[in-house]
Point group: C2
Chain length 345, copies 2
Amino acid sequence: MNIHAKRIKDLQHLLKQNRLDAIVVGRALETGFLTGFHLDGLLMLVTRTEAWAFMPKMLLADFNSKVDFVSASAPDNLIMAAASKVSELRLKKAVFEPETENYLRGNFWKLRGFSEFKGLTSSLRAVKEGEEIDVLRRSCRIAARAFGLVKPRIKTGCTERSVYRALEDVMQGMGAKGPSFDLIVGFGPNSALPHHETSERRLKNNEAVLMDYGCVYRNYCSDITRTYFHGRPTDEFKKVHAIVAAAQKAGLARVRAGVKTRDVDAACRDTISDAGYGQYFIHGTGHGVGLEIHETPTLNTKSDEVLKAGMAVTVEPGIYLHGKFGVRIEDSVLVTKSGCEILTR
Amino acid sequence: MNIHAKRIKDLQHLLKQNRLDAIVVGRALETGFLTGFHLDGLLMLVTRTEAWAFMPKMLLADFNSKVDFVSASAPDNLIMAAASKVSELRLKKAVFEPETENYLRGNFWKLRGFSEFKGLTSSLRAVKEGEEIDVLRRSCRIAARAFGLVKPRIKTGCTERSVYRALEDVMQGMGAKGPSFDLIVGFGPNSALPHHETSERRLKNNEAVLMDYGCVYRNYCSDITRTYFHGRPTDEFKKVHAIVAAAQKAGLARVRAGVKTRDVDAACRDTISDAGYGQYFIHGTGHGVGLEIHETPTLNTKSDEVLKAGMAVTVEPGIYLHGKFGVRIEDSVLVTKSGCEILTR
């Protein structure tokens, strides 16, 4: 069976398990995940036995040529069409997902008797399977290789933005569609800003270089961070880099199916705190990665999800010394029964 | 005054005009528009006299170094902080914008006594001013120039995807950050799909080439479509191209401050219908363009907004002959008192 047809079956199985009759799905991420048709504008209605897609007229021919396991139509009003279908089929328990819905449409569903139900599509998306894993692996490998290709080109005087473009070029040369987010290239003190906006600043001798980047390859996002010192590293940089590397190693060692996400965070955080830098690790340890650059699950001090085999997550501890430099080391990994496979290698 | 500080003043003026006390703004597009700080994660509260930004700890140092006209802080819970501030100041009429809000946060505001109020930030964003116009002009000029540079490279046998990359490269070479959307390059019958996904299909002799593309330059999006025939155009292509060109010309001639958006659509649509192709023009005539590739206003058969000087919109009629070819001609234009300035020239 086609992977997308299978996902619709999986969603239908979840409906049954949760004693639900139908779900409406309207965000492009989820409709793309369920159909393989990644354009914005579809509204899907999935019942225990059937699946419909309502869309603007201009998408219909293209959709029908690519997807044959969903009934497609182009009514004037998509949300009315979905709501009417639910009434027509006399479905009692129809739901929408509050976390993926916008305010206006969510309230329309509410008004039409739909209930909120969280986490159905995100739980399906979180666990990668089949061909999807190969695509994600390729996306991560492209990103990982780009470091080795771009680093030798980074010389004193080049701008952060030129490194951004070099990363993009090199990744596109390997088949990537483009960057998976606003890539972060930070030189010197800019590396101490976890969400620095890549700028025209030029690289000086003897300062830190941080690159947080990734690509989109066949819709799948990769995410990686590398930090090194351009020139002769200071003792402080060497010390901080070693602590972050040890923290990341401890985090990776903790990743395994069945482990709580916050325990992976704790493994990283404890290493950094024990070294006396706890207050400088100012963000969570990681996040799921896939069709979105940030998706389920979350790995931080409060998260209580449990890792499953097939989940893809980042492990990315960091230490940020404001005005001086920051170090972050990040890999994307695939959770397995016995540990993890590092994808960005 | 800084353009962003002025926008906050403009928003405060709108609050007074509409007898509102405060507004919460949580989407990156709007917080970026109001502060010039374009990262995701900010939540702003603007009252008639003050402006606050609540954000994750890791953004604070960066924000403070760039924005000095908003009070920034990093509370544990952003939405609670905003709601508490409203209570603390005893503000009676606090609002949120239902069209930019997600379902969960919108309902939190509702629960805390905030009301829905549409269109405040979008009305500010729709009318471009000052430096913003120069940036948009540059974004459009980069896109327009790319056509002349890339067209000579498009030869029989090249793939749609390779043209996509050539457009990207050329635009980045002129300073663009990247494409402003998933660029559409369609050869032959693919040109008849208005939202075709650019593929590995190769160009054959004697077929249509459609390129719908644009770039992001300093956060501003451009949008342009060019269609031509690779080889010796068929009579049918020549006829259809001439009709679309005439329709676009009629639409552009109609653009002027004070005109209804649907009248611009009618000017294009009537030309195409009169030529007997009405049923093949299967989408609206245009949309606003700026920080987003699609923004206020909308130009279609039903839209009833009125054009104002400073609005930037696309005019993009098309005719799509399924299985054969499609023609779309699109420019981004700036609305003026007496007509419009074509930006993609």
